[in-house]
Symmetry: C2
DNA sequence: TGTACATCAGTGAACGCGCGTTCACTGATGTAC
DNA sequence: TGTACATCAGTGAACGCGCGTTCACTGATGTAC
Protein backbone atom coordinates (compact mmCIF):
# COMPACT_ATOMS: atom_id res chain seq x y z
CA UNK A 1 0.00 0.00 0.00
CA UNK A 2 2.58 2.57 1.08
CA UNK A 3 4.35 3.71 -2.04
CA UNK A 4 8.09 3.55 -2.36
CA UNK A 5 9.99 6.83 -2.62
CA UNK A 6 10.43 6.24 -6.31
CA UNK A 7 6.73 5.65 -6.82
CA UNK A 8 5.93 8.78 -4.86
CA UNK A 9 8.41 10.82 -6.87
CA UNK A 10 6.95 9.47 -10.06
CA UNK A 11 3.38 10.28 -9.04
CA UNK A 12 4.53 13.76 -8.03
CA UNK A 13 6.22 14.29 -11.39
CA UNK A 14 3.06 13.32 -13.25
CA UNK A 15 1.06 15.70 -11.08
CA UNK A 16 3.57 18.47 -11.80
CA UNK A 17 3.28 17.86 -15.53
CA UNK A 18 -0.48 17.99 -15.40
CA UNK A 19 -0.45 21.11 -13.25
CA UNK A 20 1.83 22.95 -15.64
CA UNK A 21 -0.21 21.68 -18.57
CA UNK A 22 -3.31 23.15 -16.96
CA UNK A 23 -1.54 26.47 -16.50
CA UNK A 24 -0.55 26.40 -20.15
CA UNK A 25 -4.12 25.65 -21.13
CA UNK A 26 -5.20 28.68 -19.14
CA UNK A 27 -2.76 31.05 -20.77
CA UNK A 28 -2.55 29.76 -24.32
CA UNK A 29 -5.48 27.47 -25.03
CA UNK A 30 -5.58 23.79 -25.71
CA UNK A 31 -4.21 23.98 -29.23
CA UNK A 32 -0.99 25.46 -27.88
CA UNK A 33 -0.41 22.73 -25.28
CA UNK A 34 3.22 21.81 -25.77
CA UNK A 35 5.31 19.10 -24.15
CA UNK A 36 8.45 21.11 -24.81
CA UNK A 37 7.04 24.12 -23.00
CA UNK A 38 6.08 21.90 -20.07
CA UNK A 39 9.60 20.49 -19.94
CA UNK A 40 11.04 24.00 -20.03
CA UNK A 41 8.81 25.07 -17.16
CA UNK A 42 9.80 21.97 -15.19
CA UNK A 43 13.49 22.67 -15.79
CA UNK A 44 13.88 19.39 -17.58
CA UNK A 45 14.95 18.34 -21.04
CA UNK A 46 12.03 17.80 -23.39
CA UNK A 47 12.60 14.11 -23.93
CA UNK A 48 12.41 13.45 -20.19
CA UNK A 49 8.69 14.21 -20.24
CA UNK A 50 8.23 11.00 -22.19
CA UNK A 51 9.19 9.03 -19.05
CA UNK A 52 5.84 10.11 -17.62
CA UNK A 53 3.51 10.79 -20.51
CA UNK A 54 3.44 8.66 -23.66
CA UNK A 55 2.42 11.49 -25.99
CA UNK A 56 0.78 14.86 -26.25
CA UNK A 57 -2.59 13.37 -27.16
CA UNK A 58 -2.44 11.05 -24.17
CA UNK A 59 -1.74 14.02 -21.90
CA UNK A 60 -4.78 15.80 -23.35
CA UNK A 61 -6.92 12.75 -22.65
CA UNK A 62 -5.67 12.63 -19.05
CA UNK A 63 -6.48 16.32 -18.61
CA UNK A 64 -9.97 15.88 -20.04
CA UNK A 65 -10.74 12.93 -17.75
CA UNK A 66 -9.36 14.87 -14.77
CA UNK A 67 -11.51 17.87 -15.67
CA UNK A 68 -14.68 15.81 -15.94
CA UNK A 69 -13.92 14.16 -12.62
CA UNK A 70 -13.06 17.42 -10.92
CA UNK A 71 -16.36 18.91 -12.08
CA UNK A 72 -18.18 15.70 -11.17
CA UNK A 73 -16.70 15.66 -7.66
CA UNK A 74 -17.64 19.28 -7.05
CA UNK A 75 -21.19 18.96 -8.30
CA UNK A 76 -21.85 15.63 -6.60
CA UNK A 77 -20.60 16.98 -3.29
CA UNK A 78 -22.82 20.05 -3.52
CA UNK A 79 -25.85 18.02 -4.51
CA UNK A 80 -25.28 15.40 -1.83
CA UNK A 81 -25.37 18.12 0.84
CA UNK A 82 -29.05 18.78 0.11
CA UNK A 83 -31.98 17.02 1.69
CA UNK A 84 -33.31 14.44 -0.78
CA UNK A 85 -36.76 15.97 -0.76
CA UNK A 86 -35.48 19.49 -1.41
CA UNK A 87 -35.79 19.23 -5.17
CA UNK A 88 -35.34 22.93 -5.88
CA UNK A 89 -32.30 22.98 -3.62
CA UNK A 90 -30.75 20.05 -5.44
CA UNK A 91 -31.25 21.78 -8.79
CA UNK A 92 -29.72 25.00 -7.51
CA UNK A 93 -26.82 23.03 -6.04
CA UNK A 94 -26.12 21.33 -9.36
CA UNK A 95 -26.27 24.60 -11.24
CA UNK A 96 -24.34 26.72 -8.80
CA UNK A 97 -21.59 24.16 -8.31
CA UNK A 98 -21.22 23.80 -12.08
CA UNK A 99 -20.88 27.54 -12.57
CA UNK A 100 -18.53 27.98 -9.61
CA UNK A 101 -16.30 25.26 -10.96
CA UNK A 102 -16.35 26.75 -14.47
CA UNK A 103 -15.54 30.25 -13.25
CA UNK A 104 -12.71 28.92 -11.10
CA UNK A 105 -11.20 26.80 -13.91
CA UNK A 106 -12.24 28.34 -17.21
CA UNK A 107 -9.57 26.61 -19.25
CA UNK A 108 -10.62 23.19 -18.03
CA UNK A 109 -14.22 24.09 -18.70
CA UNK A 110 -13.25 25.04 -22.26
CA UNK A 111 -11.50 21.69 -22.59
CA UNK A 112 -14.68 19.73 -21.94
CA UNK A 113 -17.50 22.09 -22.94
CA UNK A 114 -15.77 24.35 -25.46
CA UNK A 115 -15.09 23.76 -29.10
CA UNK A 116 -13.23 20.51 -29.71
CA UNK A 117 -9.43 20.58 -29.81
CA UNK A 118 -8.37 20.61 -33.48
CA UNK A 119 -6.78 17.38 -34.64
CA UNK A 120 -7.63 15.56 -31.45
CA UNK A 121 -10.43 13.10 -30.84
CA UNK A 122 -11.12 12.05 -27.28
CA UNK A 123 -11.31 8.28 -26.81
CA UNK A 124 -14.96 8.02 -25.85
CA UNK A 125 -14.46 4.68 -24.09
CA UNK A 126 -12.38 6.50 -21.49
CA UNK A 127 -13.94 9.95 -21.31
CA UNK A 128 -17.54 8.77 -21.64
CA UNK A 129 -18.31 7.76 -18.07
CA UNK A 130 -16.70 10.74 -16.28
CA UNK A 131 -18.33 12.94 -18.90
CA UNK A 132 -21.84 11.98 -17.80
CA UNK A 133 -21.57 12.43 -14.06
CA UNK A 134 -23.35 15.79 -13.97
CA UNK A 135 -26.11 14.71 -16.32
CA UNK A 136 -26.62 11.55 -14.24
CA UNK A 137 -27.27 13.72 -11.18
CA UNK A 138 -29.82 15.69 -13.16
CA UNK A 139 -31.51 12.51 -14.35
CA UNK A 140 -31.82 11.21 -10.79
CA UNK A 141 -33.31 14.54 -9.79
CA UNK A 142 -35.78 14.40 -12.68
CA UNK A 143 -36.88 10.94 -11.57
CA UNK A 144 -37.65 12.34 -8.12
CA UNK A 145 -39.50 15.27 -9.68
CA UNK A 146 -41.58 12.87 -11.78
CA UNK A 147 -42.63 10.75 -8.79
CA UNK A 148 -46.36 11.01 -8.17
CA UNK A 149 -47.01 13.14 -11.22
CA UNK A 150 -48.56 12.00 -14.45
CA UNK A 151 -46.07 11.35 -17.23
CA UNK A 152 -46.74 13.43 -20.34
CA UNK A 153 -45.74 11.83 -23.64
CA UNK A 154 -44.20 13.61 -26.61
CA UNK A 155 -44.95 12.42 -30.14
CA UNK A 156 -42.51 11.96 -32.99
CA UNK A 157 -38.85 10.93 -33.09
CA UNK A 158 -38.12 12.75 -29.86
CA UNK A 159 -40.50 10.44 -28.01
CA UNK A 160 -38.70 7.46 -29.51
CA UNK A 161 -35.29 8.72 -28.38
CA UNK A 162 -36.66 9.34 -24.91
CA UNK A 163 -38.12 5.83 -24.67
CA UNK A 164 -34.70 4.34 -25.44
CA UNK A 165 -33.04 6.66 -22.94
CA UNK A 166 -35.58 5.81 -20.22
CA UNK A 167 -34.86 2.13 -20.77
CA UNK A 168 -31.14 2.69 -20.62
CA UNK A 169 -31.28 4.75 -17.44
CA UNK A 170 -33.90 2.59 -15.74
CA UNK A 171 -35.55 5.76 -14.44
CA UNK A 172 -39.21 6.69 -14.76
CA UNK A 173 -39.08 10.13 -16.33
CA UNK A 174 -41.86 11.12 -18.70
CA UNK A 175 -41.13 12.53 -22.15
CA UNK A 176 -42.19 16.04 -21.30
CA UNK A 177 -40.06 16.23 -18.17
CA UNK A 178 -37.11 14.68 -19.98
CA UNK A 179 -37.40 17.32 -22.67
CA UNK A 180 -37.50 20.03 -20.02
CA UNK A 181 -34.47 18.47 -18.39
CA UNK A 182 -32.52 18.53 -21.65
CA UNK A 183 -33.45 22.16 -22.13
CA UNK A 184 -32.53 23.10 -18.57
CA UNK A 185 -29.19 21.32 -18.89
CA UNK A 186 -28.41 22.94 -22.24
CA UNK A 187 -29.47 26.35 -20.98
CA UNK A 188 -27.39 25.95 -17.83
CA UNK A 189 -24.22 25.37 -19.80
CA UNK A 190 -25.28 27.87 -22.45
CA UNK A 191 -25.43 30.61 -19.83
CA UNK A 192 -22.10 29.54 -18.33
CA UNK A 193 -20.45 29.46 -21.76
CA UNK A 194 -21.81 32.88 -22.70
CA UNK A 195 -20.49 34.30 -19.45
CA UNK A 196 -17.03 32.75 -19.91
CA UNK A 197 -16.79 33.76 -23.56
CA UNK A 198 -17.60 37.36 -22.76
CA UNK A 199 -20.90 37.35 -24.62
CA UNK A 200 -22.56 39.30 -21.80
CA UNK A 201 -19.84 41.94 -21.60
CA UNK A 202 -21.42 45.34 -22.10
CA UNK A 203 -24.85 44.33 -20.89
CA UNK A 204 -24.52 42.41 -17.61
CA UNK A 205 -22.25 43.56 -14.82
CA UNK A 206 -23.22 40.93 -12.25
CA UNK A 207 -23.11 37.55 -13.93
CA UNK A 208 -23.60 35.74 -10.66
CA UNK A 209 -26.90 37.54 -9.99
CA UNK A 210 -28.01 36.87 -13.55
CA UNK A 211 -27.12 33.20 -13.23
CA UNK A 212 -29.03 32.86 -9.96
CA UNK A 213 -32.07 34.45 -11.53
CA UNK A 214 -31.97 32.12 -14.51
CA UNK A 215 -31.51 29.08 -12.26
CA UNK A 216 -34.85 30.07 -10.73
CA UNK A 217 -36.51 30.35 -14.13
CA UNK A 218 -35.21 26.95 -15.10
CA UNK A 219 -36.48 25.49 -11.83
CA UNK A 220 -39.93 26.77 -12.77
CA UNK A 221 -39.52 25.17 -16.16
CA UNK A 222 -38.86 21.86 -14.39
CA UNK A 223 -41.87 22.44 -12.17
CA UNK A 224 -39.95 22.65 -8.90
CA UNK B 1 -18.35 52.18 -60.36
CA UNK B 2 -17.42 49.30 -62.66
CA UNK B 3 -14.24 47.78 -61.35
CA UNK B 4 -11.18 47.46 -63.52
CA UNK B 5 -10.00 43.94 -64.39
CA UNK B 6 -7.21 44.32 -61.89
CA UNK B 7 -9.61 45.34 -59.14
CA UNK B 8 -11.87 42.42 -59.95
CA UNK B 9 -8.95 40.01 -59.94
CA UNK B 10 -7.84 41.39 -56.62
CA UNK B 11 -11.30 41.06 -55.07
CA UNK B 12 -11.49 37.53 -56.42
CA UNK B 13 -8.12 36.64 -54.93
CA UNK B 14 -9.21 37.91 -51.51
CA UNK B 15 -12.40 35.87 -51.80
CA UNK B 16 -10.37 32.79 -52.71
CA UNK B 17 -8.12 33.28 -49.73
CA UNK B 18 -11.09 33.60 -47.39
CA UNK B 19 -12.82 30.61 -48.92
CA UNK B 20 -9.78 28.40 -48.48
CA UNK B 21 -9.28 29.77 -44.99
CA UNK B 22 -12.85 28.76 -44.16
CA UNK B 23 -12.20 25.27 -45.51
CA UNK B 24 -9.09 25.08 -43.35
CA UNK B 25 -11.08 26.20 -40.33
CA UNK B 26 -13.53 23.41 -41.04
CA UNK B 27 -10.93 20.68 -41.25
CA UNK B 28 -8.34 21.78 -38.71
CA UNK B 29 -9.83 24.36 -36.41
CA UNK B 30 -9.06 28.00 -35.98
CA UNK B 31 -5.79 27.52 -34.13
CA UNK B 32 -4.37 25.73 -37.17
CA UNK B 33 -5.27 28.48 -39.63
CA UNK B 34 -2.08 28.93 -41.63
CA UNK B 35 -1.21 31.44 -44.32
CA UNK B 36 1.36 29.03 -45.74
CA UNK B 37 -1.23 26.30 -46.11
CA UNK B 38 -3.57 28.74 -47.83
CA UNK B 39 -0.81 29.72 -50.25
CA UNK B 40 -0.07 26.07 -50.94
CA UNK B 41 -3.73 25.38 -51.68
CA UNK B 42 -3.88 28.42 -53.96
CA UNK B 43 -0.78 27.27 -55.82
CA UNK B 44 1.04 30.41 -54.82
CA UNK B 45 4.19 31.15 -52.90
CA UNK B 46 3.56 31.94 -49.25
CA UNK B 47 4.77 35.51 -49.36
CA UNK B 48 2.31 36.35 -52.15
CA UNK B 49 -0.57 36.05 -49.70
CA UNK B 50 0.71 39.21 -48.06
CA UNK B 51 -0.33 41.17 -51.17
CA UNK B 52 -3.93 40.57 -50.07
CA UNK B 53 -3.93 40.05 -46.34
CA UNK B 54 -1.70 42.02 -43.97
CA UNK B 55 -1.34 39.25 -41.39
CA UNK B 56 -2.81 36.08 -39.99
CA UNK B 57 -4.61 37.92 -37.21
CA UNK B 58 -6.13 40.34 -39.69
CA UNK B 59 -7.40 37.42 -41.76
CA UNK B 60 -9.00 35.95 -38.64
CA UNK B 61 -10.71 39.25 -37.93
CA UNK B 62 -12.04 39.38 -41.50
CA UNK B 63 -13.38 35.85 -41.17
CA UNK B 64 -15.06 36.64 -37.85
CA UNK B 65 -16.77 39.74 -39.24
CA UNK B 66 -17.85 37.80 -42.34
CA UNK B 67 -19.25 35.03 -40.15
CA UNK B 68 -21.26 37.42 -37.99
CA UNK B 69 -22.61 39.12 -41.09
CA UNK B 70 -23.42 35.87 -42.82
CA UNK B 71 -25.37 34.71 -39.76
CA UNK B 72 -26.96 38.14 -39.42
CA UNK B 73 -28.06 38.16 -43.07
CA UNK B 74 -29.57 34.69 -42.81
CA UNK B 75 -31.46 35.36 -39.58
CA UNK B 76 -32.65 38.82 -40.60
CA UNK B 77 -33.97 37.47 -43.90
CA UNK B 78 -35.86 34.66 -42.18
CA UNK B 79 -37.33 36.98 -39.57
CA UNK B 80 -38.29 39.63 -42.11
CA UNK B 81 -40.36 37.04 -43.99
CA UNK B 82 -42.77 36.76 -41.04
CA UNK B 83 -45.81 38.91 -40.47
CA UNK B 84 -44.98 41.52 -37.83
CA UNK B 85 -47.79 40.39 -35.58
CA UNK B 86 -46.80 36.72 -35.75
CA UNK B 87 -44.62 36.87 -32.68
CA UNK B 88 -44.23 33.11 -32.28
CA UNK B 89 -43.35 32.80 -35.96
CA UNK B 90 -40.70 35.46 -35.65
CA UNK B 91 -39.14 33.68 -32.67
CA UNK B 92 -39.14 30.35 -34.50
CA UNK B 93 -37.65 32.04 -37.56
CA UNK B 94 -34.80 33.52 -35.54
CA UNK B 95 -34.09 30.20 -33.84
CA UNK B 96 -34.41 27.99 -36.87
CA UNK B 97 -32.35 30.24 -39.11
CA UNK B 98 -29.62 30.40 -36.45
CA UNK B 99 -29.47 26.63 -36.13
CA UNK B 100 -29.61 26.04 -39.89
CA UNK B 101 -26.75 28.43 -40.39
CA UNK B 102 -24.72 26.83 -37.60
CA UNK B 103 -25.28 23.30 -38.90
CA UNK B 104 -24.34 24.38 -42.42
CA UNK B 105 -21.17 26.20 -41.31
CA UNK B 106 -20.03 24.66 -38.04
CA UNK B 107 -16.51 25.99 -38.26
CA UNK B 108 -17.69 29.55 -38.67
CA UNK B 109 -20.09 29.03 -35.81
CA UNK B 110 -17.20 27.83 -33.67
CA UNK B 111 -15.28 30.94 -34.66
CA UNK B 112 -17.89 33.29 -33.22
CA UNK B 113 -19.64 31.24 -30.53
CA UNK B 114 -16.98 28.68 -29.62
CA UNK B 115 -14.07 29.03 -27.26
CA UNK B 116 -11.89 32.02 -28.13
CA UNK B 117 -8.96 31.47 -30.47
CA UNK B 118 -5.80 31.18 -28.33
CA UNK B 119 -3.47 34.13 -28.62
CA UNK B 120 -5.95 36.17 -30.62
CA UNK B 121 -8.18 38.96 -29.38
CA UNK B 122 -10.87 40.23 -31.69
CA UNK B 123 -10.86 44.02 -32.08
CA UNK B 124 -14.23 44.75 -30.51
CA UNK B 125 -14.58 48.08 -32.31
CA UNK B 126 -14.87 46.17 -35.58
CA UNK B 127 -16.60 42.92 -34.56
CA UNK B 128 -18.99 44.51 -32.07
CA UNK B 129 -21.74 45.74 -34.37
CA UNK B 130 -22.00 42.68 -36.65
CA UNK B 131 -21.84 40.56 -33.50
CA UNK B 132 -25.09 41.96 -32.14
CA UNK B 133 -27.33 41.65 -35.19
CA UNK B 134 -29.12 38.52 -33.97
CA UNK B 135 -29.63 39.82 -30.45
CA UNK B 136 -30.97 43.09 -31.85
CA UNK B 137 -33.64 41.13 -33.70
CA UNK B 138 -34.56 39.38 -30.49
CA UNK B 139 -34.73 42.67 -28.62
CA UNK B 140 -37.07 44.14 -31.22
CA UNK B 141 -39.23 41.05 -30.89
CA UNK B 142 -39.27 41.35 -27.11
CA UNK B 143 -40.41 44.95 -27.40
CA UNK B 144 -43.37 43.79 -29.51
CA UNK B 145 -44.12 41.03 -27.00
CA UNK B 146 -44.10 43.55 -24.17
CA UNK B 147 -46.57 45.90 -25.87
CA UNK B 148 -49.84 46.07 -23.97
CA UNK B 149 -48.61 43.91 -21.12
CA UNK B 150 -47.63 45.10 -17.68
CA UNK B 151 -43.88 45.35 -17.17
CA UNK B 152 -42.63 43.24 -14.27
CA UNK B 153 -39.60 44.57 -12.43
CA UNK B 154 -36.72 42.52 -11.04
CA UNK B 155 -34.90 43.64 -7.91
CA UNK B 156 -31.17 43.68 -7.28
CA UNK B 157 -28.20 44.30 -9.57
CA UNK B 158 -29.92 42.54 -12.47
CA UNK B 159 -32.65 45.19 -12.46
CA UNK B 160 -29.97 47.88 -12.58
CA UNK B 161 -28.25 46.28 -15.58
CA UNK B 162 -31.56 45.98 -17.34
CA UNK B 163 -32.44 49.63 -16.73
CA UNK B 164 -29.19 50.69 -18.39
CA UNK B 165 -29.76 48.31 -21.28
CA UNK B 166 -33.34 49.56 -21.78
CA UNK B 167 -32.02 53.10 -21.98
CA UNK B 168 -29.35 52.14 -24.45
CA UNK B 169 -31.71 50.23 -26.71
CA UNK B 170 -34.55 52.74 -26.43
CA UNK B 171 -36.99 49.82 -26.24
CA UNK B 172 -39.68 49.29 -23.63
CA UNK B 173 -38.99 45.82 -22.36
CA UNK B 174 -39.71 45.04 -18.72
CA UNK B 175 -37.12 43.42 -16.48
CA UNK B 176 -38.87 40.08 -16.31
CA UNK B 177 -39.24 39.79 -20.07
CA UNK B 178 -35.66 40.93 -20.61
CA UNK B 179 -34.46 38.21 -18.26
CA UNK B 180 -36.53 35.65 -20.12
CA UNK B 181 -35.08 36.93 -23.37
CA UNK B 182 -31.54 36.52 -22.09
CA UNK B 183 -32.35 33.00 -20.99
CA UNK B 184 -34.01 32.10 -24.29
CA UNK B 185 -31.08 33.49 -26.23
CA UNK B 186 -28.52 31.66 -24.09
CA UNK B 187 -30.51 28.44 -24.24
CA UNK B 188 -30.89 28.72 -28.00
CA UNK B 189 -27.16 28.87 -28.54
CA UNK B 190 -26.55 26.40 -25.73
CA UNK B 191 -28.66 23.80 -27.53
CA UNK B 192 -26.95 24.55 -30.85
CA UNK B 193 -23.50 24.30 -29.27
CA UNK B 194 -24.33 21.02 -27.54
CA UNK B 195 -25.55 19.59 -30.82
CA UNK B 196 -22.46 20.73 -32.73
CA UNK B 197 -20.06 19.55 -30.04
CA UNK B 198 -21.59 16.09 -29.98
CA UNK B 199 -22.92 16.39 -26.46
CA UNK B 200 -26.20 14.76 -27.49
CA UNK B 201 -24.55 11.83 -29.26
CA UNK B 202 -25.80 8.62 -27.73
CA UNK B 203 -29.09 10.08 -26.51
CA UNK B 204 -30.70 12.07 -29.33
CA UNK B 205 -30.88 10.78 -32.89
CA UNK B 206 -32.96 13.59 -34.36
CA UNK B 207 -31.44 16.87 -33.27
CA UNK B 208 -33.68 18.86 -35.55
CA UNK B 209 -36.82 17.48 -33.88
CA UNK B 210 -35.32 18.14 -30.46
CA UNK B 211 -34.45 21.68 -31.44
CA UNK B 212 -37.94 22.37 -32.74
CA UNK B 213 -39.44 21.08 -29.53
CA UNK B 214 -37.19 23.26 -27.39
CA UNK B 215 -37.94 26.31 -29.53
CA UNK B 216 -41.56 25.76 -28.55
CA UNK B 217 -40.69 25.53 -24.85
CA UNK B 218 -38.70 28.73 -25.08
CA UNK B 219 -41.60 30.45 -26.85
CA UNK B 220 -43.78 29.53 -23.87
CA UNK B 221 -41.12 30.93 -21.60
CA UNK B 222 -41.38 34.21 -23.52
CA UNK B 223 -45.15 34.05 -23.27
CA UNK B 224 -45.81 33.77 -27.01
C1' DT C 1 -1.63 55.32 -81.70
C1' DG C 2 2.59 54.67 -79.67
C1' DT C 3 5.93 55.19 -76.11
C1' DA C 4 7.69 55.91 -71.17
C1' DC C 5 6.72 55.19 -66.78
C1' DA C 6 4.23 53.53 -62.62
C1' DT C 7 1.79 50.06 -60.41
C1' DC C 8 1.15 45.69 -58.89
C1' DA C 9 1.21 40.20 -58.60
C1' DG C 10 3.95 36.84 -57.73
C1' DT C 11 8.88 34.66 -56.90
C1' DG C 12 12.44 32.59 -54.19
C1' DA C 13 15.49 32.77 -50.59
C1' DA C 14 16.14 33.62 -46.03
C1' DC C 15 15.52 34.57 -40.77
C1' DG C 16 14.40 32.76 -36.53
C1' DC C 17 11.32 30.32 -34.28
C1' DG C 18 8.69 26.27 -32.27
C1' DC C 19 7.04 21.65 -32.32
C1' DG C 20 6.66 16.03 -31.32
C1' DT C 21 9.31 12.25 -31.08
C1' DT C 22 13.39 8.90 -31.13
C1' DC C 23 17.66 7.14 -29.51
C1' DA C 24 21.93 5.89 -27.39
C1' DC C 25 23.90 7.41 -23.25
C1' DT C 26 25.18 8.35 -18.10
C1' DG C 27 24.35 8.00 -13.28
C1' DA C 28 21.72 7.42 -9.47
C1' DT C 29 18.47 4.63 -6.97
C1' DG C 30 16.67 0.39 -5.69
C1' DT C 31 16.67 -5.02 -5.16
C1' DA C 32 18.14 -9.96 -4.73
C1' DC C 33 21.33 -12.94 -3.06
C1' DT D 1 26.03 -6.36 5.60
C1' DG D 2 27.99 -6.13 1.27
C1' DT D 3 28.16 -6.94 -3.55
C1' DA D 4 26.23 -7.59 -8.43
C1' DC D 5 22.74 -6.54 -11.13
C1' DA D 6 18.40 -4.38 -12.77
C1' DT D 7 15.58 -0.51 -12.99
C1' DC D 8 14.68 4.00 -13.90
C1' DA D 9 15.21 9.43 -14.41
C1' DG D 10 17.16 12.47 -16.98
C1' DT D 11 20.62 14.08 -20.83
C1' DG D 12 21.80 15.89 -25.28
C1' DA D 13 21.82 15.49 -29.99
C1' DA D 14 19.29 14.76 -33.85
C1' DC D 15 15.34 14.16 -37.46
C1' DG D 16 11.98 16.25 -40.07
C1' DC D 17 8.51 19.15 -39.93
C1' DG D 18 5.70 23.56 -39.98
C1' DC D 19 5.03 28.34 -39.07
C1' DG D 20 4.77 34.00 -39.83
C1' DT D 21 7.05 37.45 -41.89
C1' DT D 22 10.58 40.29 -44.61
C1' DC D 23 13.01 41.58 -48.65
C1' DA D 24 15.04 42.37 -53.09
C1' DC D 25 13.71 40.80 -57.44
C1' DT D 26 11.25 39.90 -62.15
C1' DG D 27 7.58 40.54 -65.35
C1' DA D 28 3.22 41.57 -66.63
C1' DT D 29 -0.54 44.84 -66.64
C1' DG D 30 -2.21 49.29 -66.67
C1' DT D 31 -1.93 54.69 -67.37
C1' DA D 32 -0.48 59.42 -68.91
C1' DC D 33 1.20 62.04 -72.38
Amino acid sequence: MTATPRQRARAQAIEDIKRIAREQLASEGSAALSLRAIARELGIVSSAVYRYVPSRDELLTMLIIDAYNSLGDAVEAAEAACARDDLAGRWRAIGTASRDWAVARPSEYALIYGSPVPGYHAPVERTGEPGTRVSMLLMALLADVQRGRPAVAVAGPLGGDFAVLRDFLGLDIGDDLLARGFLAFSALFGVISFELHGQYVGSLTDCRAHFDHQLGSLASLLGI
